[in-house]
């Protein structure tokens, strides 16, 4: 049985039985790598708050635990009232959030301070706040998506070549 299968494989074109599907798989793999991010780039604005960094805000207790009684002078301080509206909204949303994070959607003038980590004074208490993710928007070349889809389609044709090949062989040899 096994020997029979080996001989069968030998008598066929190795190019069409193994070579072409192999290239096909490579094309599909490259195609996925291009098409999936490419498609994502087209729709991400509708899906995610990209471009809006996330900040994390720690509760006053956690902040105390982090710094003890005296936060080092290198940590900047900001007053809640002095924050921009988007910063204020994100700060309050983070306080409400179960894991203490929120996106800053809008102008973020204190971004640099937040990136370094800052103490925000809010209703008389100190909260340690930092940027934890920038959430940059994904950039892709416009052709990336269509070419990726093309590569996937072409690759699938390659993967399906062996059966098609056998059919064509049958068609031609049927002539004799």
């Amino acid at each position: 049985m096994a020997a029979e299968a080996d001989d069968e494989a030998d008598s066929e074109s190795a190019l069409f039985t193994y070579g072409v599907p192999f290239v096909g798989v490579l094309l599909v793999a490259v195609g996925i790598a291009a098409a999936v991010p490419g498609a994502y780039a087209l729709i991400q604005e509708d899906l995610t708050p990209c471009g809006a960094p996330s900040i994390a805000v720690e509760s006053p207790e956690e902040t105390d635990r982090r710094f003890g009684d005296a936060p080092p002078p290198t940590v900047d301080r900001l007053d809640f009232a002095a924050l921009a509206p988007a910063e204020q909204a994100a700060f309050e949303a983070a306080l409400d959030d179960p894991i203490g994070e929120a996106h800053v959607e809008g102008a973020f003038p204190n971004a640099e301070t937040f990136r370094d980590g800052t103490l925000v004074t809010y209703e008389g208490e100190h909260y340690y706040a930092t940027v934890v993710a920038e959430n940059p928007c994904f950039q892709a070349a416009p052709l990336q998506f269509p070419l990726g889809v093309f590569a996937i389609a072409l690759g699938i044709v390659g993967i399906l070549t062996p059966p098609a090949y056998r059919r064509l062989v049958a068609l031609e040899t049927g002539l004799e």
């Binding site: 049985m1 096994a2 020997a3 029979e4 299968a5 080996d6 001989d7 069968e8 494989a9 008598s11 066929e12 074109s13 069409f16 039985t17 193994y18 599907p21 192999f22 798989v25 490579l26 599909v28 793999a29 490259v30 996925i32 790598a33 999936v36 991010p37 994502y40 991400q44 899906l47 995610t48 990209c50 996330s54 179960p98 894991i99 934890v132 993710a133 920038e134 959430n135 940059p136 928007c137 994904f138 950039q139 070349a141 052709l143 990336q144 269509p146 070419l147 093309f150 590569a151 072409l154 062996p162 064509l168 062989v169 068609l171 031609e172 040899t173 049927g174 002539l175 004799e176």
Partner: protein, 758 residues
């Protein structure tokens, strides 16, 4: 992007396609229906059947059925962890974290590691052990069949607990448009754990995510299940052997399962204790791993005291399979059986004495550290013994390049690279430089991918005839094996290299200089993923469609005296069930003979000119069909903007007409229908290709180069790639359309002539 939804849909899609494929094939394989509508009785019958099957699989204690359950469960977990891996690599296509968020990336590598290590590898090996150990030992069943079933059924809830975060998160997202945040707070709180699979304190103690607690409970449950299974294997191997199975001729896979089970017995209870301590620290204010108490480093000691033996628990069964399968396909006995057994025992014992090599950077006492370094280097020796024995087994053998052999040979290769890179890591100064880089990821993946799943898949092919009574698609299997080896080598050696250059692991963001290498690794990973899907398809489809096995010795093992016990059992069953005679396998030659082709494919004697004139009109029809097909490809190219339609005007100019695209297109059509087919007819005998359509493809490829040059309008970058790609493919469509139509017409004409003449 929203990770939870993407992952849940990917998994759902995979499950649904498997199910659909299964149902469709099953329907196709079953007795032909009368084509009528399904009646009520039929439906009731189907449901009844389903209920009975369900009851059977839920309550079975038969070792073979429990084995299948384990294998299916492990495969599901493996695919799940694989989806995590694909998503990890997708994020790494670009340097910034612009596809998933960093938090999501952290969760992905954590759940990927845990799912693969705990829920994929050992369940699959336990499944293989359950199915085959009793057959190999000559036992009726496992020693404790009910404990066996119990051990399995602890696993599904364990997996669900460990990965509940995903479903809860998806649930929360589906509910959040409908309910106010307060009511569904629970759903918004849980999310997948993101502290790394090693759960290092203090992060794992301080993270608020309650999913960590569920994960710990799930891990504990799976540890209990693993220990139960190990006890069962040990007792079965020690007490249930048939009279003639002695320690001296116990097969190598059973030896490996025995040693593995021993390791489990000593390692897993420790993990259980450590997990409980962590759970207590998180919820009941104990201080085992707090700085004021035992300290965070205590966790690392306990964890790695389990963790390093765990590495060998995962790896030893794979070497057992390799030592079992390799000799069968090289026609030689396993070289140095005794040394392989000793090396396995040696590995088992040494594996408990090296754990601190995972902690070289924590600042433990330098003297102790040096002794761990020595042990870690020594542990390479038993592994090397295995490798030399495998190589010697293959040396001068009568090698049959079946899929299992390809995978076995590939495993030896990747294992050598994975193992040697590991020896470097055992050296303290090297480890201090590299332990936090992709070098480590490359090193251990060459083993956790390069031998463990390789050998699982090899075993699935090797025993497929025994498991199902059918053959898998052998060409597809060979292809898939090569693909798997190729993808793994590309991916993980790339990781070794970028790690060697210093790229840190466990980071979603990386410097742009690494982008190209990272993309290569990702494409390699996708190739691994596609290879896994091809394997899955082969397994599912062949179950219904594969050629039935008609011999009692499918691998021709009797010829080399390697007809082992499990095959003897198979032979007995075949004889009993189908009354097959246990004969020597016959040799059958295939029918297709390439030498029998006539030399002039157009089937005529005479000059080229005669051939052309006799067949010209058929070639023209073929050319027209080809041109129409080709226009589809070129049209798409114009549509997405990689081909400039104005360039068609230039053809007209070329022959001295005004540069109008319309005229150009007309000329293009005439060329495609008349000129090129005639050129093809004239030259096809001199072009490479055995069959006409092959020649057609070669011809089309050649003329496409001319097209590429003639219609080039300064495209660059992606547009250039797209331009060339579309032009070449459109020409292939032309070549195929031309040659296949031509052949078809000729065939019809002959048939007509044949009828007229006879």
């Amino acid at each position: 992007m929203n990770r939870a939804l993407v992952e849940a849909s990917a998994l759902g899609l995979l499950a649904v396609s498997c199910l659909l494929l299964w149902v469709r094939l099953r329907r196709a394989a079953g007795p032909q229906s009368d084509g009528g509508y399904p009646t009520r009785e039929r439906l009731r019958f189907e449901l009844d059947h389903l209920r009975r099957q369900l009851a059977r699989w839920l309550t079975t204690t038969d070792h073979r059925e429990v084995g299948i359950l384990y294998i299916v469960f492990g495969t599901v977990a493996g695919l799940w962890g694989g989806v995590d891996a694909m998503m990890l690599r997708t994020e790494l296509l670009t340097p910034p974290t612009d596809i998933w968020s960093p938090e999501t990336y952290n969760a992905l590598f954590t759940t990927h590691g845990i799912t693969m290590l705990i829920f994929f590898v050992l369940p699959v090996f336990y499944g293989v052990g359950n199915y085959f150990l009793p057959l190999l030992l000559g036992a009726d069943d496992m020693a404790f069949p009910r404990v066996n079933a119990l051990g399995f059924w602890l696993l599904p809830p364990a997996l669900l607990l460990a990965r509940a975060g995903l479903f809860v998160q998806v649930g929360g997202q589906l509910l959040s448009p409908v309910f106010p945040q307060e009511t569904i707070r629970f759903f918004l709180t849980l999310r997948e754990v993101s502290v790394g699979w090693t759960l290092y304190a203090p992060l794992s103690v301080q993270s608020v995510n309650p999913q960590i607690d569920l994960l710990l409970i799930g891990l504990h449950l799976s540890g209990v299940a693993t220990t139960l299974g190990a006890i069962n294997f040990i007792v079965t191997i020690v007490y249930e052997r048939a009279e003639d199975v002695t320690w001296a001729n116990l097969d190598i896979f059973s030896w490996n399962m025995l040693v593995t089970s021993g390791l489990v017995l000593f390692a897993f209870p420790l993990l259980g204790s450590a997990i409980l301590m962590l759970l207590l620290d998180r919820n009941f204010g104990t201080t085992f791993f707090a700085v004021e108490g035992g300290g965070p480093i205590l966790w690392q000691h306990l964890f790695w005291f389990w963790g390093h033996p765990e590495v060998y628990i995962l790896f030893l069964p794979a070497t057992g399979l390799l030592s079992t399968i390799l000799p069968k396909f090289v026609g030689r006995r396993l070289f140095g059986y005794k040394f392989i057994v000793y090396s396995t025992l040696g590995l088992g014992i040494l594996s408990f004495a090296v754990w601190a090599h995972h902690m070289f950077t924590t600042g433990i006492d330098p003297g102790i550290r040096a002794s761990f370094m020595a042990n870690s280097i020594v542990i390479a020796i038993p592994s090397a013994i295995k490798v030399f024995n495998w190589l010697t087994t293959m040396w001068d053998g009568d090698i049959r390049t079946t899929a299992p052999l390809i995978l076995a040979a590939g495993s030896i290769g990747t294992f050598i690279v994975g193992g040697v890179t590991g020896v470097f890591l055992a050296v303290i100064p090297v480890d201090i430089l590299y332990h936090g880089t992709y070098y480590v990821v490359g090193h251990f993946h060459l083993i956790v991918v390069g031998i463990i799943p390789f050998m699982m898949i090899a075993a699935s092919y090797y025993w497929y005839p025994l498991l199902t009574g059918r053959w898998y698609d052998r060409r597809l299997a060979q292809f898939q094996s090569v693909l798997l080896i190729f993808g793994s080598t590309v991916t993980f050696t790339t990781l070794l290299i970028i790690g060697g250059l210093g790229l840190p692991r466990r980071q979603a963001v990386y410097p742009p200089e690494y982008q190209f290498a990272s993309q290569i690794a990702t494409v390699g990973a996708y190739v691994i993923g596609l290879a896994a899907l091809l394997w899955l398809y082969n397994m599912v489809a062949s179950y219904w469609q594969g050629d039935p096995v008609r011999t009692t010795d499918p691998w021709n093992l009797k010829a080399t005296g390697q007809f082992t016990r499990e095959w003897q059992w198979f032979e007995g069953r075949m004889v009993e069930k189908y009354d097959v005679t246990p004969a020597e396998p016959e040799t059958v030659r295939p029918a297709y003979d390439p030498e029998g082709e006539p030399s002039g494919l157009l089937g005529g004697v005479g000059t080229v000119a005669q051939t052309v004139s006799r067949n010209a009109w058929m070639a023209a029809v073929g050319g027209f069909v080809g041109t129409v097909l080709m226009s589809g490809g070129l049209g798409t190219a114009i549509l997405i903007g990689v081909l400039d339609p104005a360039s068609f005007g230039e053809i007209a100019e070329l022959v001295g007409l005004p540069a109008s695209p319309l005229l150009g297109t007309l000329l293009f059509l005439i060329g495609g229908t008349v000129t090129w087919p005639l050129v093809f007819l004239a030259f096809q005998e001199y072009l490479p290709g055995r069959l006409l359509f092959e020649t057609g493809l070669v011809f089309a490829t050649l003329i496409s180069t001319g097209f590429v040059v003639a219609f080039y309008t300064g495209q660059a970058g992606l547009a250039l790639i797209g331009y060339v790609g579309f032009v070449v493919v459109a020409h292939w469509a032309y070549g195929l359309g031309l040659s296949v139509t031509f052949q078809y017409l000729r065939r019809r004409q002959r048939a007509k002539r044949g009828r007229g003449g006879g």
